[in-house]
């Protein structure tokens, strides 16, 4: 499992104004949507900086059932991504059940959203 600081791989965070609190946040995965070139590029950047990435095609069901649900049953773990708003909506609501929340959100062109979901403790730093 590859953990690392968020800011190096996710420059949008500075624009969201939450860089300081997230600089030290370990990420479990970076989520991207294979249908959007910008999202693929985002994942490539994250991968180069040592982040584990996971691709979806709009639907988060497989990501949830085969990966995130299992990980989050062990305890909260931060994730970040560049996806459409529907995927973020699902992940946001699922994260709430694990005492996590969206702590950074930036609108991108083409209906995409860059975001970070992190445990309550991170949000309260």
């Amino acid at each position: 499992m590859q953990y690392g600081g968020v800011a190096a791989s996710l420059p949008f965070i500075a624009a969201a104004g939450v860089e300081r609190k997230l600089l030290a946040t370990p990420l479990y995965k970076v989520i991207f949507d294979e249908r959007f070139p910008a999202s693929v590029a985002f994942a490539d950047q994250a991968r180069r900086s040592g982040q584990a990435v996971h691709g979806i095609r709009g639907d988060i069901t497989a990501l949830w059932f085969h990966d995130l649900d299992l990980r989050w049953k062990q305890g909260p773990a931060a994730i970040a991504g560049l996806t459409d708003a529907n995927a973020l909506f699902c992940l946001d609501l699922l994260a709430r059940d694990k005492c996590m929340r969206v702590v950074a959100r930036t609108e991108w062109p083409d209906g995409l959203v860059a975001w970070v979901i992190a445990p309550r403790a991170v949000a309260e730093i």
Partner: protein, 525 residues
Amino acid sequence: MRLPPGLNQKDFADALRQLEQALGKEWVFSSDEDINLYRDSYTPFWHEAEEPIPSAAVAPDSVEQVQKVLKVANAFKIPVWTISAGKNLGYGGSAPQLSGSMVLDLKRMNRVLEVSDKNHYALVEPGVSYFDLYRYIQEKGLKVWIDCPDPGWGSLIGNALERGGGYTPLRDHFDAHCGMEVVLANGDVVRTGMGALPTSKTWQQYKYGFGPQVDGIFSQSNFGVVTKMGFWLLPEPEAYLLGNVTVPRRDDVHQLVEVFAYLANSKIVDGTTSVIDNTAFGPPDPQRAALRVGGSTRALEDYIKQKDLGYWSLDLPFYGPTKVIRAQWEHAKEKFSTIPGVRFRDVDSHRFPLSAADLAKIPNPVPLGVPSLTTFAIGGPRSQGHMWFSPIIPMTGQAILEAQEVFEKAYRELGSPEGALPGFPVWSFFARAFVIIYFIPIEHDIEKNRKNRAVFRSLVKTAAERGWGEYRTHTAFMGDVMAAYSYNNHALLRLHESIKDTLDPNGILAPGKNGIWPRAMRRRA
């Protein structure tokens, strides 16, 4: 700090301290940041003062902790709004009916207590989602299916208590339950049906027990906190088959539905389907839109013929042994064949168990008992959320045509929320009657939301005048819908209120849920 109604800051702080002692500080939430997570993601009161917002939330881990929460709530008269997974989107999400209520979040009570693939049942806690139970069954290799709603992230107990529906023969989720455990407002723990027998071996196998069956009063109600519930499961079928029937003319709907009702009530077809009006659905088409507003029936029939579609389309799902469901489909075709111009098509078929690779290829696995979130990835009307308008209508072609006429007229008079005439999908989630599930959008626009709330209320009244009542509704309209069930000067509501006053004299449990208010709040409501 947001306060419960009627409570001062000092008393609320005292109550929160007692709750922290009972549950642990980390499971009592009162900061705005935490509380905001319990707001309705699809609130129709976006940026309006009427939006119901909780004062706090607590997440107990056990029946004993639920009892402690209710003890504190009774002592301080704090209204409590219970949620299981809080995913009741379109019907209010996790937000309370009454602003300032404290959310009783049962997500940590997420244990699968028992699954039998010999007698085909499960016993679960409220925090168990469809995904959780599906995973448990898959990991243990049990030969049973769950029945999931769409989407599958909700709680089995929450969905069943709200009388939600799925797709398989066990699609009526409340009807498929067998036995429950309930914590009453005074902390007493009741087990229903055979569960009242301390040595019972059949709690999840025989529903009735002895004496009055009380399970129903805990559904769509505020009479107790359900902490365990049994569900019947479907033995894994050998196969699944989906056939499709289309008929060419508008008036064919009468015979189409009459035959379907015969097949459904005979259990020859035993799964959810919908009667689709092909003139109302499909990609945007100006010609079709114009015909639906001002065109004749004949012109619409000709249009649909040019598209090589039937005017009406009906999928028929079959579950069971291959030979049996093939025979059922053949029998269904024979019955429908009396309709001139009827066409049949084999749509889909599977044998079970499916490999993971085969399952991954199925676009919508929900009718096969596999939970999914795919519905959120399907492009639909653009909005910031929605409310579901969902009246029950008779299972007749006449009722479908009448509902179309009545609701489309109402939309024209009120101004359609989407600027176009709606198609009303008609579903068979429940036996013997159809339910219309119609999407009314929510926007980040106060005026549009006000208008759409007015549209919703008008539709409720219009439906009631025709004898159609909602099977379930958004918290914003629970009073409106309950008011429509008014036979004999609201005798049913008065009975509910009598039960409420007896079981919950302090009125702490979900005030206003389904239009049922405790005595002290009744005049205000």
